[in-house]
């Protein structure tokens, strides 16, 4: 699998994501700077977490308008897999690749803790390492992860099986509607999620529940 990680100024889980991709696949991903206008030929594009542009204006809003995002949008339309984690999820929403909005947590505070996730759709390139209904552990670390969408969008997400991960067992940390932790686009080649599977892939992390997301992606990649 060939992967590229897009780096914006202010991201800070880029190194965590690069480490996870490298450890799981054995190959370091290509690093693409936000001002680049070309993407290498890859199977997977990853936008990691952090605070691109300091979360100024709105989380992800400025990054979503970077030159490289036109390329990301074009590749997504061609079917290339795109994964956005945390700030990456916010950027994908701001870029129009995923619907809805991520608002400030209902606690109005940053929250860093481990939550439980239910894999609600295991029939995607991203989640095939899991089984439907499986409950996994996963850390979260964000200030603005409160997923919101209008009733119609929520209905479509649920009806078309586009909710990939849901906070489970009462661990919703941010007030997201329908306990939504991660969603797919209609074509199911773009996934955005707030939790950090890249921070739970080896014994040193205290667990490996996040690893299957990467091995699943790896297993079926060209």
């Amino acid at each position: 699998m060939k992967a590229a990680v897009i780096v914006f100024p202010g991201l800070n889980r880029d190194r965590d994501m690069i480490a996870a991709l490298t450890k799981v696949s054995g190959t370091a991903p290509a690093i693409v700077w936000h001002q680049d206008t070309e993407l290498p030929d890859v199977d997977l594009i990853v936008i990691p977490g952090g605070f691109s542009y300091g979360d100024y204006l709105r989380c992800g809003a400025i990054a979503a308008r970077s030159p490289i995002m036109d390329q990301v949008r074009a590749r997504a339309e061609q079917g290339t897999k795109v994964l956005g984690v945390c700030n990456g999820f916010q950027i994908l929403i701001e870029a129009g690749l995923l619907p809805g909005a991520l608002m400030r947590n209902t606690s109005l505070k940053f929250v860093c803790r481990e939550v439980k996730l239910e894999v609600t759709n295991a029939d995607t390139d991203f989640t095939r390492g899991y089984t439907k209904g499986q409950i996994i552990r996963c850390p979260v670390a964000h200030h603005d992860g409160n997923y919101f969408a209008d009733a119609e969008t929520l209905k479509r997400l649920e009806g078309e099986d586009l909710v990939a991960f849901r906070y489970a067992e009462g661990t919703n940390p941010n007030g997201s509607l329908h306990d939504i932790a991660g969603i797919l686009n209609a074509r199911k080649n773009v996934l955005g999620l707030m939790p950090h599977p890249e921070n739970l892939i080896e014994a040193a992390h205290g667990g490996t529940d996040g690893r299957a997301l990467f091995t699943g992606l790896l297993g079926q990649a060209a």
Binding site: P9, N12, R13, R15, G54, F110, A141, N199, A204
Partner: protein, 744 residues
């Protein structure tokens, strides 16, 4: 050459700059004329307590600062300690007390930003952060507001910057009502052969300004930090700086990228007194003069005067001396990260500090004298007057189970989860022990097994009762917390927070605490490699409890063998390593007395450093031998609270057998020092256990078997069993309830 003297220097103006008449006379003698307004500002910046350490220098010099692993001790941006394999850990702790009281979010955030900058200025990527916080009484009207602002401010900065917060401490006491303490710690990793210092080299080489633009924020901040608060405190708000972690993160990446090119000769971050301190320090250390042209300084406000530019404490700025032929390379790196880059001056061979502004020379001072000739005081101090010991019969009684629940659910011992869940504790993917235990532990990136442990400790109530024993205790406790993970304590940083040193009784606290710290550091081979002094922590003449915070760093050769505080399994023997004959004896200055009987009397528990050393060395050896399944040091609340914390962390209970003939209150709540709880996976009747005890006896360490893990309740001897679930509810419940306004 014209030196503008538009502003007449009056005695009032001198006093407003925090300079005493005799200090001003010294300036007149040094330069042989009246200083310009800008020069007066420069002197005030260089000679205030915060920058010059004029009251503490004499005593700081007595601290042990060297050791086989110490690469760089105090005097640079941070201390540097060898951790083998060509790697070094670089760390420091620094206070941001006054700004955090005035504007908690920005004050605490920029405190975090400042200490992170100190670390990456030396070429290290920050890998761990901690914070030691002290607030006023829980029922004081400002406390919740300050807690919430400070925690959000630290989180807002550290989380965005991308460094995991791995530990810290929080305490409440009325002495901090008008003067909270915010001490921020950061540690970074670098290769030993690529550590950057602040000493300029070479004449005529460019002095380059990097990072954010200069504004008027923080003008006079260091002078404020060197004065007591009065009722006019709200008027000080304009001197608090505003932080921008986004710029700091870019500055980090740009600096590390630039350093890798070999273009950097010297680097200094602009912290207290910004451009003034950084330029003077780089020149003076290198025996060079510096000429600055302020018209080249990137500014974000119009009509800034030379005075304002020289004293601005705008954040996220660096000053570098660069190889002249690498300027283009350096500029490209900063353009990439969209940061300002400007050549603002050059080094000279005349040992003068010259500042040009709009064609005028507004300052021309002897650069070495600005630092070297700063006042140094041997301030008078009163003899030590330790609080007297309690009478032996003075053991106020309370039901042991009730007392345990109250302490575990009280403000001193309750879980700090409400705070640390607002910090990113796992970014970088290396946090193998997160907040809630004795020390935070990270693995060393790029090494298969090595880990680093971090802790921050001081017990201000002990320091108040006996500054000398309290100073020893702060060091011993930090050393103990590192040891309890299995780490070898390497070195420490000290952040000395005291009241007004011009009062002999406060100076006495400082002197005796430093003596205690020094003695403990020597006995434990735990040198001080960096630090910070914060004096004048008073409001309207009311000083804080003396608070010499110690930040400790330890090394684990293999983090997979580390210990943590949670009981690992049922039916394991619990040993009290380092126990006195009667398990617990010292109730003076205990949390039991203070929080259950509102008594702050008695002597501070003494620290026997030889006992501390042999006990800790034995515990560490046990952990590394693999027999230890959990380990926790005893501190606030003594044996009872430590057992409860181990039970709560695991959900497993324990049965403890009373020691006959000793008051249970003393056994369970005495705060005798140098003790650890250890569980082992050995048969208490087996040969291995006998061998362990035999070895302990030879080393002179008493480690009685006091009980066994198991069940769902903690039973302290004859006391009523307390369900672990109740302990957990009390432990976890206090902080959220307090912040919701439900508890006080």
């Amino acid at each position: 050459m014209t030196i503008p003297n538009d502003i007449v220097i009056t005695p009032e103006l001198v006093a407003d700059h925090g300079l005493k008449p005799d200090e001003y006379q010294k300036i007149l003698d040094l330069i042989g004329r009246t200083p310009t307004y800008t020069e007066l500002g420069i002197f005030s910046a260089m000679w205030n307590e915060h920058c010059s350490y004029k009251s503490s220098k004499k005593w700081l010099k007595t601290l042990p600062t060297t050791g086989p692993r110490v690469i760089q001790g105090p005097g640079e941006n941070a201390g540097v300690v060898d951790i083998g394999d060509g790697q070094a850990v670089i760390f420091k702790m620094e206070s941001h007390n006054h700004p955090s009281f005035i504007e908690p979010y920005q004050g605490a955030g920029t405190g975090m930003g400042g200490i992170l900058r100190d670390v990456f200025t030396m070429g290290a990527r920050p890998v761990a952060a901690m914070n030691a916080l002290r607030f006023g009484a829980v029922d004081h009207e400002k406390t919740q507001h300050l807690v919430s602002g400070v925690v959000a401010g630290i989180g807002g900065y550290a989380n965005a910057f991308g460094v995991p917060t791995v530990g810290g401490e929080v305490e409440f006491d009325a002495s901090y009502n008008g003067n909270i303490l915010v001490n921020a710690f950061a540690a970074g990793l670098a290769d030993t052969d690529s550590i950057f210092l602040s000493e300029a080299k070479g004449v005529g080489v460019p002095v380059v300004y990097l990072g954010a633009k200069t504004g008027r924020d923080g003008v006079g901040g260091a002078t404020m930090a060197s004065a007591e608060f009065g009722d006019d405190i709200e008027e000080k708000r304009p001197t608090v700086q505003v932080g921008d972690p986004f710029t700091e993160k870019r500055l980090l990446e740009a600096c590390l990228e630039l350093m890798a090119t070999g273009a950097v000769i010297a680097i200094q971050d602009m912290g207290a007194a910004g451009l003034t301190c950084s330029a003077v320090e780089m020149g003076a250390k290198g025996n060079l003069g510096v000429e600055l042209d302020l018209d080249m300084v990137p500014v974000r406000e119009t009509n800034m005067t030379a005075y304002e530019m020289m004293l601005s404490e705008s954040q996220e700025r660096m000053l570098m001396v660069l190889h002249p032929d690498r300027e283009a390379v350096a500029r490209a790196v900063f353009v990439k990260w969209e940061l300002d880059f400007a050549t603002v001056g050059k080094t000279t061979d005349d040992l003068r500090f010259r500042v040009l502004w709009q064609g005028d020379e507004v300052a021309n001072l002897p650069i070495k004298d600005l630092g070297d000739q700063a006042p140094e005081y041997d301030r008078p101090w009163t003899p030590a007057a330790p609080a007297p010991a309690l009478a032996a019969s003075d053991v106020p009684q309370m039901d042991v189970a009730d007392a345990l629940l109250k302490l575990v659910g009280g403000h001193q011992c309750a879980s700090r989860r409400w705070i640390y869940e607002q910090y990113d504790t796992m970014i970088q993917g290396n946090s193998v022990q997160r907040p809630g235990g004795d020390a935070g532990v990270i693995r060393v990136d790029g090494h298969p097994t090595k880990g680093l442990a971090f802790t921050s400790d001081v017990t201000p109530r002990y320091c108040q009762a006996d500054p000398y024993e309290g100073g020893k205790q702060a060091v011993a406790e930090a050393w103990r917390n590192l040891t309890a993970t299995g780490a070898e304590p390497l070195a420490a940083t000290d952040n000395l927070n005291f009241g007004n040193p011009e009062r002999p009784e406060i100076m006495s606290q400082l002197v005796h605490a430093i003596k205690g710290i020094g003695e403990a550091c020597l006995a434990l081979d735990f040198p001080i490699v960096s630090g910070n002094v914060s004096l004048y922590n008073e409001t309207n003449g009311q000083g804080i409890l003396p608070t010499p915070t110690i930040g400790g760093v330890g090394l684990l050769p293999d983090w997979t063998g580390m210990a943590s505080i949670a009981f690992a399994a049922e039916n394991q023997a619990i040993l009290l390593v380092g126990s006195p004959d009667k398990r617990g004896t010292h109730l003076g200055q205990s949390i039991y007395l203070r929080d259950l009987f509102d008594r702050r009397d008695g002597s501070a528990p003494p620290v026997d450093l030889a006992h501390e050393r042999r006990t800790g060395d034995f515990v560490r050896q046990l952990i590394r031998s693999g027999v230890v399944t959990a380990c926790h040091d005893l501190s606030d609340g003594g044996l009872g609270v430590a057992l409860a914390e181990m039970a709560v962390a695991s959900g497993i209970g324990a049965q403890i057998v009373d020691l006959e003939g000793q008051d249970p209150v003393l056994q369970y709540f005495g705060e005798d020092q140098g003790r650890y709880l250890v569980t082992v996976n050995l048969d208490p009747q087996g040969d291995a256990m006998l061998a362990l005890w035999d070895q302990a006896r030879q080393l002179g360490v008493f480690c009685p078997w006091i009980g066994t893990t198991g069940g769902t309740a903690l039973t302290l001897g004859a006391a009523r069993p307390v369900p672990v679930a109740d302990l957990k509810a009390a432990h976890e419940g206090w902080f959220p309830g307090f912040m919701a306004g439900a508890a006080a």
